[in-house]
């Protein structure tokens, strides 16, 4: 199972990073979201995997490590706040700069015309 989970985390990271390397704000946001999934899973796995061990006292014998879970919760919330900000910033950038390229300008002037919604 660990191998599978590690593969998933690695793959999610790679996908997230690839998307974050795109030149438009929307894929960057997607990539960021995906990267946070990967990171959250990563933090979570740093407490090792446990089946049937929710850290609620009295429900099982062997509890999963609760601390990484708490850290992930914090990370999720912070990640949400950050993503939200980035999303709105992207809108603002589109409004202010007239395009959705992360550098605020299109790499090629001709593209401006081609790019229709």
């Amino acid at each position: 199972m660990e191998t599978l989970v590690a593969c998933c985390i690695g793959f999610l990271t790679a996908c997230g990073i690839f998307l974050m390397l795109r030149g438009r704000t929307f894929p960057v946001m997607l990539g960021l979201t995906m990267l946070s999934y990967a990171v959250n899973l990563f933090i979570f796995t740093s407490g090792r995997l446990t089946l049937r061990g929710a850290a609620v006292l009295g429900t099982s014998e062997q509890y999963a490590d609760p601390l990484p879970q708490a850290l992930v919760l914090t990370a999720i919330v912070i990640g949400f706040a950050m993503t939200a900000f980035l999303v709105i910033l992207a809108i603002r950038a589109r409004a202010d700069l007239g395009n959705d390229h992360v550098d605020g300008k299109l790499p090629d002037a001709d593209v401006v015309r081609k790019e229709s919604r």
Binding site: L51, R52, A54, V56, T59, S60
Partner: protein
């Protein structure tokens, strides 16, 4: 016996989820994909309930309830998006 039944149902749900994914990937239209996603949400409720059964723990009920609620909201939101563009107007 119950264990075997649960595993069987697990298998059914898994197949159902894969079918949903297939429709989601296949499309062809956006409403098709949204429908597939909505179904997937509901099917995962089943999956989680089954997990609860498997582990004999009622701790997962809220997750199921939340999926039901949030799945609905997100489906509605996507539909609204396709209809009006602006989902909060």
């Amino acid at each position: 016996m119950l264990d075997k039944v649960i595993m069987l149902v697990f298998a059914m749900i898994s197949v159902a989820l894969l079918l949903n994914l297939w429709r989601l990937l296949r499309g062809p239209s956006l409403p098709d994909r949204i429908l597939a996603l909505d179904t997937m949400y509901i099917n995962s409720i089943a999956l989680i309930i089954l997990y609860g059964l498997l582990m004999g723990s009622p701790l997962y009920f809220e997750a199921a309830l939340l999926i039901a609620m949030l799945g609905f909201v997100s489906t509605v939101a996507v539909c609204k998006f396709l209809l009006r563009g602006d989902i909060i107007e």
